[in-house]
Symmetry: C2
Amino acid sequence: MLFEWPSNIIMDSDRRIYMKYPNGIRPIQNKHMRKQAVYTYANRGMSLEEDINITNDLYNTSHRAVVHKKPTPIQIVRVNYPKRSAAVITEAYFQSKSTTDYNGIYRGKHLDFEAKETKNKTLFPLANFHPHQIEHMEQIIAQDGLCFCIIRFTVYDETYFIKADDIIHFYKQMEQGGRKSISYDKIQTLGILIPFHYQTRVDYLRVVDQLFY
Amino acid sequence: MLFEWPSNIIMDSDRRIYMKYPNGIRPIQNKHMRKQAVYTYANRGMSLEEDINITNDLYNTSHRAVVHKKPTPIQIVRVNYPKRSAAVITEAYFQSKSTTDYNGIYRGKHLDFEAKETKNKTLFPLANFHPHQIEHMEQIIAQDGLCFCIIRFTVYDETYFIKADDIIHFYKQMEQGGRKSISYDKIQTLGILIPFHYQTRVDYLRVVDQLFY
């Protein structure tokens, strides 16, 4: 099989790989991905989070939107202050999130979304969401924000845009004894497939435009 | 001097103090504040951040808005996974913020703000802002979001609401060789004093209503 080198990816003499962006080039940091980018095709090997971060960087630098991932909340217990150098956190714990992972603003509207990937072939387990996150999504909808989820089935390399209302609907059903997952078929029907591009890897704003404008 | 006990604060037989909210009571956790709440008056002893967090909790639980503080970004270097217990982060470093501290949604509008306090009596030093934060505020304004700063002069116990445009204006002047601070007088003129209430301790949405609706 011939491998067609993507025109926006550059390799230097040390086999270091860079991606071209409208505002310059940027090294591809992830070791695993570096290998993958050379020897395999497109998307595989890069996590949904990395893809969304790259997409958001592009949106932000091109002034199309302002979207950031919220840092993981961490409870800090002990910090050392060595002389002449930066403070070192020596004991800390992960805390669970009470909101979604991403938020921002696009065309005057508040955007709020969560991204999840699954290795499952036939269903998406609802246990991926915390009850707090569902509550948060309900509140965002009540305040007239654009709220959705991005769900990737890694085995098919397919990434779907699902309105938060649909996720909330299935979650409520589960709480009342319904099924603990959403079937892949249902997601294919309800969701919108987000096309993959080398630059805007998860171009969810295109779907937002399509649905809300 | 007689101390008048505020009607929304309750003390139990162990001298534990609780605050009454529309949706129930809640213990006042901060040790320092607990002492202060008994022996001194009102606001002193509680940080601006704590006051804003309490205010946001009230806004969120009363469904008036959805506003959260973003967690501090932390770079995690080493994590231990002891058996049968939670993962412990054993080496991590504080990262600098590229956005503002707070954001959310109110009446369909995206809110974005930064909160700073100073012990200075005559001026507010602009070094309190990172260039990235100023850039971020500009982007939020360009996307038609409501962007502002909450500045507290701790010595006067006064908290001001200042539009981000004004902060950006002074910051740009500084970059072109202008003064490195905003005078207290200027902030009194440009800003709007946010009144203090026991419950909504920094009722900034009242100012938002006043300015934008």
